[in-house]
């Protein structure tokens, strides 16, 4: 056998081997896709389909008809941007937008402040730390609807526990209209949501706190730094990224919040606690006006997408 034949045979063997490798890789890749296909299909069905349907409805005049007459029972007629124009001119939408922004700000700031305080407490050498941790996480496991009903009773003007406490301390005090006064109602529902959301902030911040090297605190203590200086110049800089991420996530979740307000006030009194989510719910399921409701939903999605993009960019920059 001459050298040429050997080289040819070797090349042939190499090519055959590389083809086999490629085939195996392809099969492996196909198998991977096959495994995730059901999950992808499910995601498309439960996320993509409703979003696309809402987008479609937002550009149409929608009339409900029996399901046998039209797809999903929606008889539609294209109306360009009419739904969006109507929504933006609707004073209720602007009120709901303002309320939602205020509700989100109070929730985020309140839960951040309380979450940080509790996280610092749990990070210190406090007695019965496990018990405190369980107690502080309790609101997280309570369903929002249950929390809303419970707090509604606690805020009740005549029979609620808060007014009973006030009466115990100051017997002549007039009852506080927690949910009946327009301003107090927004404060009360926001306070309830702060209670519900604080554990999330606490968990995030506690994880951040525990990642701070203790040597830095020891060095600062040796240098004579006060507790406030250690908090200001070590804790806060280390936690800044966690705070930013938690704030963005909390902001996104709270902006589309629904249950607490629906259960506690239904958006009232008047429109005092009307949020975008409760307004969308009423517009679609009480007035059956799915076009404007979908347009509102799309506007909220667009606003939240901007925040979500900031979040993703933030994570990437960190990486």
């Amino acid at each position: 056998m001459d050298c040429t034949a050997v080289a040819f045979g070797s090349r042939l063997q190499e090519r055959s081997t590389s083809w086999q490798v490629a085939r195996r890789r392809l099969l492996s890749r196909l198998a991977e896709y096959a495994f995730i296909a059901p999950a992808l299909g499910l995601l498309a069905a439960i996320i993509l389909f409703p979003i696309l349907t809402a987008l479609y409805l937002s550009f149409h005049n929608v009339r409900l008809v029996p399901p046998a007459q039209a797809f999903m029972g929606f008889a539609t007629a294209f109306n360009r941007l009419e739904n969006y124009a109507e929504v933006l001119a609707n004073p209720d939408f602007l009120v709901a937008f303002g309320n939602t922004t205020a509700f989100t700000l109070v929730t985020v700031v309140g839960s951040l402040a309380l979450g940080l305080a509790f996280a610092l407490m749990l990070d210190s050498a406090i007695k019965g730390r496990s018990l405190w941790r369980i107690l502080m996480l309790t609101p997280w496991v309570v369903a929002p609807v249950v929390a809303g009903s419970t707090w509604r009773w606690m805020f009740e003007t005549r029979y609620g526990v808060f007014n009973a406490l006030i009466r115990t301390i100051i017997p002549s005090a007039p009852p506080v209209l927690w949910l009946a006064d327009p301003t107090m109602a927004l404060v009360s529902v926001s306070a309830t949501n702060v209670w519900l959301r604080t554990p999330f902030m606490m968990v995030m911040l506690l994880a951040g706190l525990q990642a701070i090297p203790p040597e830095e605190y020891e060095a600062a203590a040796v240098d004579g730094a006060s507790a406030w200086q250690r908090f200001r110049f070590i804790t806060i800089p280390h936690l800044s990224f966690v705070i930013l991420v938690a704030t963005l996530l909390e902001g996104i979740w709270t902006f589309k919040h629904f249950d607490i307000v629906q259960v506690m006030t239904g958006g009232g009194p008047g429109r005092a606690t009307e949020l975008l989510s409760t307004l969308i719910y009423k517009t679609s399921f009480e007035f059956f006006r799915f076009g404007p409701a979908a347009a509102m939903g799309m506007l909220v999605t667009a606003a939240l997408t901007v925040v979500a993009v900031c979040y993703v960019r933030l994570l990437r920059s960190r990486d």
Partner: protein, 449 residues
């Protein structure tokens, strides 16, 4: 001797091999598929079984309260005795959600066969094709009594494009309900209720004692049908109207309408006769206060103290009812049964509707629930005469006027009325500003195509 490990079969120590994992996955998928296939086959065979025994789905918010539930269980059991092949499955739903859930069920393709709705729901549901007309079946079977016995003005208001969609069963008109003990305690004659609006305000003030947490008037203002209908009654009684004669425009900011609306709000704002926090007081709040003897009067039907009796025994005995003070012009509200479009068993459903709205059905239901039958021959049935409050309420109800709040877009307009009510009670708008805004905003809704 240990078997040599085959190439390509990876296994972590103590883990599961790829082969075992794939086999288990395939087996699970196979079992799931077999189960699904069996289910499909069973579903295909179901119609054959259904021909033997039919199960009708009956949807009703009244099932959440004990007295009406007892009546409905009795009436449907009697129905099954008469038609042994038809069983009735009672499906309860909460009052605030009953209409939207019905729409969702209808649009999802699984509506109940028969549902109870209020008069306010008929036109919106008929407009979207969620309910079927009843006229054809009634004429074909020569069984149109459940339609012809409805007072003509009420029946006309419930028709959509000339067809009947609801078989009315009950009628109600809010009349004065008072606690005789609280009247006595305030030095008032419990046998002589207030006759004029001025007297009503005076009685409400006299029975109010915030130190005892006791108030003269129970006001309802939350976002519910119960509250808006009561306010409309005050608007009509003041001399106003909700809509113009053609039903094309809201006119509820007239002088008369303002008089009624202002009076309603003044019971809370000027006379301070309503419990604190009345800005969004619910029907249940008033019932609780009345049941506990903390509210002296409210505008309600005989079924209200009957409901309160369940939690506060003895309240029925302490209650009396009579006409509201003059001038009083109250809409006559009704509820009844509808045939759902997409329901499985139309013929059987119509038999049930016919049974529920018969004299037997209405009397038996009235006896337990304390709701006034809409049929005159049922309302005057001797069996009902032993129920004092029911008779007093029935006497007022026959004087009622047909409900003006029936409109395809009523749900949206009602939201604007709630805004007006709550803004006035919260003091953020005067009664006039609130009504003007209500009319302006409501008319925009009516004009929208």
């Amino acid at each position: 001797m240990r078997r040599p490990r085959r190439a390509g079969v990876s296994r972590e120590p103590g883990g599961v091999s790829r082969r075992t994992f794939l086999t288990a996955t395939a087996a699970t998928a196979g079992i799931t598929a077999a189960g699904g296939l069996a289910g499909l086959l069973a579903a295909r065979q179901a119609p054959a079984a259904a021909q033997r025994t039919v199960e009708l789905r009956f949807y009703d918010w009244k099932l959440t309260d004990k007295p009406p539930r007892k009546a409905l269980e009795l009436i449907t059991a009697e129905f099954t005795k008469k038609y042994p092949t038809i069983r009735v499955k009672l499906e309860e739903v909460s009052w605030p959600d009953h209409q939207k859930k019905l729409v969702v069920l209808a649009q999802g393709g699984s509506p109940p066969d028969v549902a109870r709705i209020t008069d306010a729901g008929v036109l919106p549901l008929a407009n979207i094709g969620a309910i079927d007309p009843l006229t054809e079946w009634a004429v074909k079977n020569k069984a149109d009594e459940f339609l012809t016995k409805i007072p003509p003005s009420v029946r006309k208001g419930l028709q959509f494009k000339g067809a009947d969609y609801m078989a009315c069963a009950t009628a109600s008109m809010d009349i004065l309900t008072w606690n005789k003990e609280l009247f006595k305690g305030a030095g008032l004659d419990p046998e002589r209720p207030p006759k004029t609006w001025e007297e009503l305000a005076e009685y409400a003030r006299k029975t109010t004692d915030p130190k005892k947490d006791q108030y003269g008037w129970g006001i309802m203002s939350e976002r519910s049908n119960s509250a808006s209908r009561r306010v409309i009654a005050w608007i009509l009684s003041g001399g106003g109207e909700l809509f113009n004669e053609q039903g094309t425009e809201l006119v509820a900011n007239s002088e008369g309408a303002l008089r009624g609306f202002q009076y309603w709000a003044d019971l809370a704002l000027k006379h301070k006769a309503c419990p604190p926090g009345s800005t969004n007081a619910a029907f249940r709040d008033v019932m609780r206060g009345y049941g506990q003897g903390k509210i002296a009067m409210f505008d309600g039907g005989p079924n209200n103290p009957k409901m309160a009796e369940v939690d506060y025994p003895g309240i029925l005995e302490r209650t009396d009812m009579g006409p509201m003070p003059d001038p009083w012009r109250c809409p006559l509200r009704s509820s009844g049964f509808v045939l759902m479009n997409g329901g499985k068993f139309k013929e059987e459903a119509m038999l049930l509707i016919s049974w529920m709205t018969s004299v037997y059905g209405q009397v038996e239901y009235g006896l337990e629930s304390y709701e006034v039958p809409i049929r005159a021959d049922a309302a005057t049935d001797p069996k009902l005469k032993r129920e004092r409050l029911l008779v007093q309420s029935a006497a007022q109800t026959v004087k009622g006027v047909a409900n003006p709040a029936l409109h395809v877009k009523y749900a949206e307009i009602e939201q604007k009325l709630f805004d007006a009510m709550q803004a006035t009670l919260a003091g953020s708008k005067t009664a006039k500003q609130a009504l003007d805004d209500f009319v302006a905003e409501g008319n925009k809704i009516l004009k929208r195509t």
